[in-house]
Subunit: 355 residues, 2 copies
DNA sequence: CTGTTAGCGCTTTCAA
DNA sequence: TTGAAAGCGCTAACAG
């Protein structure tokens, strides 16, 4: 079948320049020395014919597709969108394209990743719901790979982790400093590793600080989920709410506003991830996140050496990003502690974009 | 060079099953009839070896990559993200992958689209800033193509348009019904075709309704842009503000809240696009958008027939989506008209997710 | 119904 | 330094 792709082939350039295809290839890839005159002639013809090498064909002989796949669970989550964006930009500057694969269900994650890898040189894997054992197997299959947002046992696979525990700890410290003693965690998806880790941290905090009450209710990962739990949150009587992520916090804030609940007067709410949106929430969200060091860019920096290495790769690296606290206006002194003087007046500017 | 890709080749499967590669290919693609016994044998071996065809190699002989590119100006905009998401899903169900290409600057749009096309069977093009003349040239180069969010002259290229004019008209009607006479448009990017079209509609409305004042101030397409124009919006004295899109409206709302401006009491604000977020704004945003008929899915439905058609394609289709009004809580009676009785008490439920 | 053959466009040995 | 030739993995003519 004829190729549907546009543009001339290397053969036509060769013919036009009166040389062999091999020479054209050499000129254009510039790995060996070529006669300057020939080189100029070839380049001129290539330019004139608007020649662009067919990357697919090149792959077949080099074994490199010049694309990587990003496997993510949910394209609707700004958190992953920002990964996609920064990964795309980083990859592009190295001449790589990014293929997006959305694994909408937990079961699909492995299969999607495998399929994706067949068309790509590597995969950036965000698989929050695949269980550890399967993940290990998957990883060896699709390598080179960098795994995002998962704590891995195997030190041989590159990963970009986020220290969820540190994030949760900062949020709890922030809330307790404001006098909150009765905390409520609006949980993420049951199978989510990020959720598990946050929950574990919360439990250990609760264990070591008996003065605190830390309860959990089921939630989700979307704005709608946050919206839907608002009544339950209110009914709990807790004064400090830790939402699974910014989206959930968002939905919660919106619904609380509808219910005429004063945030942070009656209730303090925190998010997680630090997506851009959180600054523009009303009230601006107190959250934790990475602003500068974007996950996607870090992922690329770990992936690139693996792509370059022809034979065995060098030592694989790991990044553990520690989110930092971003204080918004959605948290304030606990209602009971309001009158007392030791409630710090910590909350920053009411201007959500002042940061 | 050896292929870095994992998995066995068709040759190994053929060898294992004791048949020729052609037979394996036939069995697996099922285009011709094959001896059932042989078929079973081949399938068993393929399964055992975990064989998956190399799509890149397949492309070289079929001329089809089974991927399409989405060229968009900004991965950070939820509007485009939703296009990406629905396109990805639609394409996936047809066995196609989606390659993302972000054209961050106006100048890059054409080049990015061309490059993308070289690795794909088709491109979905969102190029709001490329001027008409160039766009025409580009389109013929990268066909098959479907163009989004642009009104095209050439009836031969598929397009999914949004009737921005109808959207703007609905918003203006809504505001004027509420008694607003002094309107302010926070403009989008100067070169944006969507902006131009909205502006043109506003101008024609202003011309035909002399009782209205319709002014324009520069804005942008981001939350930050909306945030930054808040003071200027206030200073204008207008009572109804039409933001270029939901993001801008969002940023504006956040800043207005910080400035203790009552929305919609003092000022009514509308967005554009109807992104999911708009429902969760505080107050919930009055906007226009397509909820069900997602642009990406529609784009795919126009693209697919072009991909299937081996020879000349059938008649190309065009879709023009008419956004519908989504009334939130960010619009209300104009301050001056407040006392009067004929201000309709139209605003819907304060519950942002009630819709 | 099956095997053989040719070739997609490119890179890369191997000789000259 | 250059050209000829082989081959990446697959599909699709054409014979058998």
């Amino acid at each position: 079948m004829a190729r549907s792709n546009v543009g001339p082939t290397i053969t036509e350039v060769a013919k036009a320049a009166g040389v062999s295809r091999a020479t054209v290839s050499r000129v254009l890839n510039g790995r060996t020395t070529v006669d300057p005159a020939i080189g100029a002639r070839v380049r001129a013809q290539a330019e004139r014919l608007q020649y662009r090498p067919n990357l697919t064909a090149r792959y077949l002989s080099t074994g490199r597709t010049m694309t990587v796949s990003l496997v993510i669970p949910d394209l609707g989550n700004p958190m992953f969108q920002s990964v996609l964006r920064s990964l795309t930009r980083a990859a592009e500057s190295a001449g790589y394209g990014v293929l997006v694969a959305e694994a909408q269900s937990a079961e699909k994650e492995a299969r999607i990743a495998q399929d994706a890898r067949r068309q790509c040189d590597a995969v950036v894997l965000v698989a929050p719901r695949t269980v550890d054992a399967e993940l290990d197997a998957l990883i060896t299959q699709v390598a080179p790979v960098v795994v995002l947002n998962r704590r891995l046992k195997d030190p041989h696979v590159a990963s970009v982790g986020i220290d969820y525990g540190a994030g949760v700890t900062q949020l709890v410290d922030h809330l307790t400093a404001l006098g909150h003693r009765d905390l409520l965690y609006v949980a993420g998806p049951e199978r989510s590793a990020a959720h598990q880790e946050r929950l574990a941290t919360l439990n250990s905090i609760a264990a070591s600080r008996p003065e605190l009450s830390v309860r959990t209710i089921p939630g989700g990962a979307s704005m709608a989920a946050g919206h839907d739990v608002a009544e339950e949150v209110l009914a709990s009587g807790a004064t400090g709410v830790l939402a699974f992520n910014d989206l959930v916090a968002f939905g919660l804030l919106a619904r609380l506003h509808g219910l005429s609940v004063d945030v942070p007067g009656d209730l303090s709410v925190t998010g997680f991830d630090g997506i851009e949106l959180s600054r523009f929430a009303v009230p601006a969200l107190t959250t934790v996140g990475q602003e500068v060091l974007d996950t996607g860019a870090v992922a690329w920096s770990l992936l690139e050496p693996q792509l370059a290495a022809t034979g065995k790769a060098g030592p694989v690296e790991h990044a553990l990003l520690t989110p930092r606290l971003i204080v918004g206006d959605s948290t304030g002194p606990a209602p009971a502690a309001r009158a007392s003087a030791h409630a710090p007046a910590a909350d920053a500017a009411p201007d959500p974009a002042a940061r």
